[in-house]
Symmetry: C2
Subunit: 342 residues, 2 copies
């Protein structure tokens, strides 16, 4: 395939998840990838990515086709629209910028050409885009990869890349158009043969299923400082915290979307991370690094949806309020909070 | 008063609270104090206490009559029984030793002479003593002092010593005997004139009243790492966490003991610590120092009592379970937990 036949893909935020996405897209030969980086830009610009991957082996100096330190402004820079924009940043709308703000320069309001792929966690993340870009196809990416970036540009992927691509319910585009785009993306993403990327017709199911982990284990480990292996041993960890929280998500999934998650989903999700890895979920890692946590999309949205549907969610309510206070602490540490003068 | 007329008082655990108690007892001239120390023994043995006190001024090298690094075993050491034993240690029965174990060598089972004063926080702390020492008078001490020990033997007291002494409900001793002992203790403790120590007939009221702070603000600050001043500013701090938790304690006090706390108790307790001090409640200090937290007596007991009485306590339930997991983390750090071998 010549370069001009390749799909152009802009990957925004290529850390532990996005770098592997960029890699899969490039190695398949059907895509030319531009990555827009922030915190790891200097490292990647100078030496490329160093990748240790259970799917791809050891790679030194992996460089996507274009490495940038800003979001392309396609009007000002007079660039053709990308075929795909894959958004892989963490989503912290409570402390800004929102995903919408971030993508805006590369995605005109009247866009129909570019397909947006939200490779992000949580609920209702597509809503702002559907409102502001009603003619854009927005796809859902739910990733089950195990990957980390211990230092800028150094990616360690220790669990296979498994990715579910689907179509967010959408008022304007017909499901046929959108699902054709989704299937095409799966083909382009999978072409290298080193990933398990599938089209999924059940986006809401996939997202609620992942929330059983992300709205529960993730904040519980972040708040207690007890990792996903140890929480299974800690006093009160499973019966006092994890199981009650997960049961609330299962009930909310049913009440909000009529989705019946599988009967043993709670126990299965508890066992997701191999015990002996003593793995730290993303929010716990973020707290330890002094970063913001994605608690609004991962915990706040399912809580609000569940409560609106009449589901009692006392455990998630308290976890949510604690996460808010902890986020406030981080905001203060980063200088975003002004204490009253004394 | 000659030394032989003085009351003999054993103060167990003389840190920020106990050292000021020992000081008040000594300066009044009616008591001869033995302190039994652990972590600050070497410092106090060598240079006495250094005390900066809003009640007493600046004192260098304050030494109680006897400074020991063990609990006196009055049988083995052939000592006369103390008139009073004042227990000022933190209470962490879940990680042992229990208060009962601690006091045992100085308090024979058939004791009638020695009066035990529990200058400790929380609920039901007298129960083990009433069972094992049915003839011992057990008094309640509820302290509202503001005091810290930034380094061993160095006491900084920045809020006045206010102490309520009363009688725990008791099946054997008549209330008259016990309350006479309580009044005597108040006299001995107050004789120096630098403290506000009063007899209180309403022990359960005093204890539940203090739980409005200790079962709520204390663990919330410990878990979030947001201090008692900042929690009033933090997103979700008051309306999401502090007020709901405090209302649960107010409801439990009513249901369990028929005590009506004052109508504005929640707002009053929120304002207990001067905002601009950015004060860290004891559990938050303990977490930061890597110490165990007193969550069972301060949070677990009122939660269990309230639930038994049918009060819904969803906020305290989650705070309690999180505190358990955090305590487990400390246990692991101190080598008390054995992880399964891999």
């Amino acid at each position: 395939m010549t370069d001009t036949q390749k799909k152009t893909v802009l990957v925004i935020g290529a850390g532990s998840v996005g770098a592997i996405a960029a890699l899969n897209l490039e190695v398949g030969g059907f895509a030319s990838v531009t990555v827009a980086l922030r915190s790891n830009y200097n490292a990647v610009k100078e030496q490329g990515y160093t990748i240790e991957s259970c799917d791809h082996g050891f790679l030194r100096d992996f460089r996507p086709s274009v490495v940038r330190n800003s979001i392309p402004d396609i009007v000002i820079e007079n660039l053709p629209p990308y075929d795909y924009i894959v958004l892989c940043t963490k989503s912290t709308p409570d402390v800004g910028p929102t995903s919408l703000d971030l993508v805006a320069p590369a995605l005109p309001k009247d866009n129909t050409h570019t397909t947006l792929v939200l490779l992000q966690n949580g609920l209702n993340i597509e809503k702002p885009f559907l409102e502001s870009h009603p003619q854009t196809v927005v796809l859902s990416g739910v990733s089950f990869i195990g990957s980390a970036e211990p230092s800028p540009g150094h990616i360690v992927q220790n669990e296979p890349d498994r990715l579910l691509i689907g179509v967010f319910p959408h008022p304007h585009n017909t499901i046929e158009t959108a699902s054709a785009r989704a299937q095409e993306f799966v083909t382009v993403y999978s072409a290298g043969g080193k990933t398990d990327c599938k089209y999924s017709p059940a986006v809401l199911h996939d997202r609620w299923r992942k929330l059983v982990y992300n709205a529960c284990l993730n904040p519980i480990c972040a708040i207690t400082g007890v990792d996903s292996g140890r929480i299974r041993l800690a006093d009160g960890g499973l019966d006092g915290l994890v199981r009650p929280a997960m049961r609330e998500i299962v009930a909310a999934a049913k009440a909000v979307t009529n989705i019946e998650l599988e009967k043993d989903v709670v126990e299965k999700v508890i066992d997701t991370d191999p015990m002996e890895n003593w793995g730290k979920p993303s929010m716990q890692q973020d707290i330890e690094k002094g970063n913001y946590i994605e608690f609004e999309d991962l915990l706040g949205e399912p809580l609000r949806e569940g409560k609106k549907a009449g589901v009692p969610m006392p455990t998630l309510e308290v976890l949510y309020q604690l996460a808010r206070a902890i986020q406030w602490r981080t905001k203060e540490a980063k200088g975003l909070v002004q204490l009253p003068s004394q």
